[in-house]
Symmetry: C2
Subunit: 365 residues, 2 copies
């Protein structure tokens, strides 16, 4: 995100992180066009001081510290575009954000992010919008036994996805399904057969959109889900200490220590991001299905992973639109809350300029 | 084994174990016809004192203490019939056993045990015997996701089977294959499709039989092997401590703590034992294939598991034959070293009287 904004003379970009090596790598990738500041962003006083001189803040923080940082940025009266995952509900901070007169765009990556934007756009376009389905996954191009998976973001958050019950909207009611449930095989062009399973990814649209059927499913290469179900069943994802070999240990710590090194991308290793968002509803008297398909790869020219590209570019696009007033609402805004045609077109154009292409099609349904 | 011998008035049986509850259960199952003595059988002085008054000793000990006990029983000048698994080579103790003038039958269960006996018999009958294959498994009748397996003996020894490289004889040479390698599907009557993989089960016959091709494979329901390969690949069977959550823990301790409860038979739960031993060679000028098939279940009348029946009865049969002089050689004897037709017929008859049936057939090959 820093590299993307720093390419434009209008932006004077400073990056901050607690890890020296992450700062150094980011600065290199930005071609030296950014300032780098080492800072502990879980320290709210430090964060407040750090952001004081800036017009807008972008966030890509660990789930542990995302919500606290969000509150601090709002309290400091700064506009904010954020892709941090957080278990808390960011919209709870909308009243203080409105009061502070700031625009705070949250969950503005790929999914949540573009998925919300397209869902919100479909819900506003179709009358009524009957169903929205989101299928999304970040995967390694090279499939290696046994996981055929690597984590393009925090692997601990991936395990959370595998245990957290998923909220789905069915016939107008929120229902809860176990994680990893209802696996189904899908053939996706360019990717082949993948397996989709329920994840708790609808997030804000469960309450912001009035669509009677909505679900999000995560995509993996076939077989991964079964393995994760087995691990969960055995207790390897357990967070309560057990007694083993005379020690008290948390099984999840052990499987993380063994598994995460195998879930880590090699430097330069190609990843891909695949997403399909479909919406079914009525338009001018006929039932239609709208489909957006994304398939993106690591960019060898910049070295940016597909996950970085597909997640970061919506956020920088939102930041530009906050700065130029295209997104002008105050409060905490997940993308479905500013999903006008103008915003969708602008985001699609800016992403396309960066090589991230969403294919759209409309069919009778 | 105690129950089987105690049924006969000729035997005055005493059982010993370090666990009170195991003794109590065994005494009950023997219908009160045995004496029970609590003793730590890893304490050689205690063992020597315990066996002093007896004519013959039977052993069913943990792999940790089997070899030391064997040495002590030989040193005490007692005849011995043993089903203890041990990593050490029992035949190393043959010279002292010969010197002590004792008959020490080892590895006398189902496999090793009946497998050795039949292999030895085939090697002596065919001229030449070209190939011996042993397929064997102990399985739960009821298959439950995800393991479809329970351990009828020490689950720690089962994990050892999954990591210990397996010795195979190919074209007259001993070759070593990884554990869990060369999986193949087999349809076995009454059991259905099972999967066979290399295990290090040939043991003594690698050096006692002059057969150019010999292998042993263990049987599981399909899928189990893949899961165990994944566990091994990830490092869950590792015995070196790793750092996890601020502790040093041995992964195998953790997976054992989580997995072994699921590998434990419920009281009265039905198990089965399936084995196929085949031998190919020349008999009276024609090439023939000899096949022995075993399929046995828990006996609801006695409550004895199939694993106990198929493993214990060969050992009690051998004990009777030591006592009556049918097996009279001195030294440490795995079953292939006394595999005469008389011994094979006697064992088959005694097992059949107890409901354990080996089906034999001979075909042109």
């Amino acid at each position: 995100m820093a590299a993307d904004l720093a390419r434009e003379p209008a932006y004077d970009v400073t990056i901050a992180d607690v890890r020296e090596e992450a700062l150094a790598l980011a600065a290199t990738r930005c071609g030296g066009r950014v300032r780098a500041v080492r800072a502990d962003l879980s320290d709210q006083a430090a964060l407040r001081k750090l952001i004081a001189p800036f017009d807008i803040v972008l966030g890509a923080l660990s789930s542990r510290i995302g919500f606290a940082a969000l509150r601090t940025v709002i309290g400091a009266g700064k506009n904010y575009a954020d892709i941090s995952f957080m278990a808390e509900d960011a919209i709870d901070l909308s009243p203080p954000a409105e009061k502070a007169g700031v625009t705070t765009v949250v969950d503005c990556g790929v999914a949540p992010g573009m998925s919300n934007l397209l869902a919100g756009y479909a819900a506003a376009t179709l009358a009524p919008c009957e169903a929205i389905e989101i299928y999304v996954g970040g995967l390694p191009v090279e499939r290696r036994w046994p996981f055929e998976y690597k984590a393009a973001f925090s692997p601990a958050d991936v395990i959370e996805e595998y245990v957290r019950p998923s909220r789905i909207v069915e016939n107008g009611r929120v229902v809860v399904r176990p994680a990893l449930s209802e696996p189904e095989l899908l053939d996706l062009p360019g990717v082949g057969t993948v397996e989709a399973f329920n994840t708790d990814g609808l997030r804000s649209i469960v309450r912001t959109l009035n669509v009677p059927n909505m679900k999000e499913k995560t995509l993996r290469y076939p077989g991964h889900i079964e393995l994760m179900r087995v691990f969960r069943e055995i207790g390897l994802f357990g967070t309560e200490a057990i007694s083993a070999g005379g020690h008290h240990v948390v099984p999840r710590d052990v499987i993380a220590a063994l598994m995460f090194p195998k879930w880590t991308y090699e430097p330069g290793e190609r990843d891909l991001t695949v997403m399909r968002v479909t919406a079914v509803g009525v338009q001018r008297g006929g039932r239609v299905r709208l489909t957006w398909d994304l398939l993106d790869y690591l960019d060898p020219a910049t070295g940016f992973t597909s996950m970085a590209r597909t997640t970061g570019f919506p956020c920088t696009s939102a930041a530009r639109m906050i700065v130029d007033g295209t997104i002008s609402k105050r409060g905490v805004l997940p993308p479905e809350l500013f999903a006008t045609k103008a915003v969708v077109d602008r985001m699609m154009t800016e992403m396309q300029e960066r090589g991230v292409r969403y294919e759209f099609r409309q069919e009778a349904a």
